[in-house]
Symmetry: C2
Subunit: 120 residues, 2 copies
């Protein structure tokens, strides 16, 4: 009876992690689900949600949100995302590339504001 929390490497989880590894397409839950269900047909979508949330919480992947849809990125190094309104791709941008030739019309950042930082 371990007192430390651990996590189990279930088949579903292994497949999800395999799919995400080196995936630069910022897949949605459905993208992941479609891949998993092809290999393990009885997988439920809730399981995929749970695993992606779990992995994001453990900082193994990053969760982003594009047009109300959650997407996941195995690249946890600092970088920005540009969502193209024309081709709908999600393009990774390094902080140094912020002044590239793309046309930006909206920037949303997530984090902790300085007021809340102070309060801790």
């Amino acid at each position: 009876m371990g007192h430390l929390t651990y996590f189990k490497l279930t088949n579903q989880r292994a497949i999800i992690m395999e799919f995400l590894k080196d995936n630069i397409n910022h897949p949605s839950v459905d993208d992941v689900y479609n891949y998993v269900v092809a290999k393990l047909p009885r997988t439920s979508k809730k399981t995929v949600y749970a695993n992606l949330e779990f992995l994001a919480e453990k900082n193994i992947i990053k969760q982003i949100e594009v047009k109300g849809v959650k997407r996941y990125d195995p690249n946890i190094k600092e970088h920005y995302h540009l969502v193209c309104r024309s081709c709908h791709r999600i393009i990774d941008l390094l902080p140094t590339e912020i002044n590239s030739k793309h046309k930006i019309d909206s920037v949303t950042m997530y984090g902790t504001c300085k007021n809340c930082l102070k309060r801790k």
Copy 2:
């Protein structure tokens, strides 16, 4: 019979615009709806959606999206938004303020990528 499109200043639309004017709270559709329905009780939520979309399309307001929920900003001057994960406020940041004392963990930009710009 006018050949140019025009737009009608309906009661609903006037109330919505009045609510948005100088509103710095980035209200959601529900925020707007609650205000409108208090003054015009039979207003449907679809009308609010339609008007906010209309105003955003005409560049009278800006639409942003936070955690899957649309929000609206009457300030159309260039500025960024910081969503605080702790106090949940949406804080306006001028481009010059980007290196302020907030802790940023995610940046998403919307726009048109350079490839799509070229193609036009």
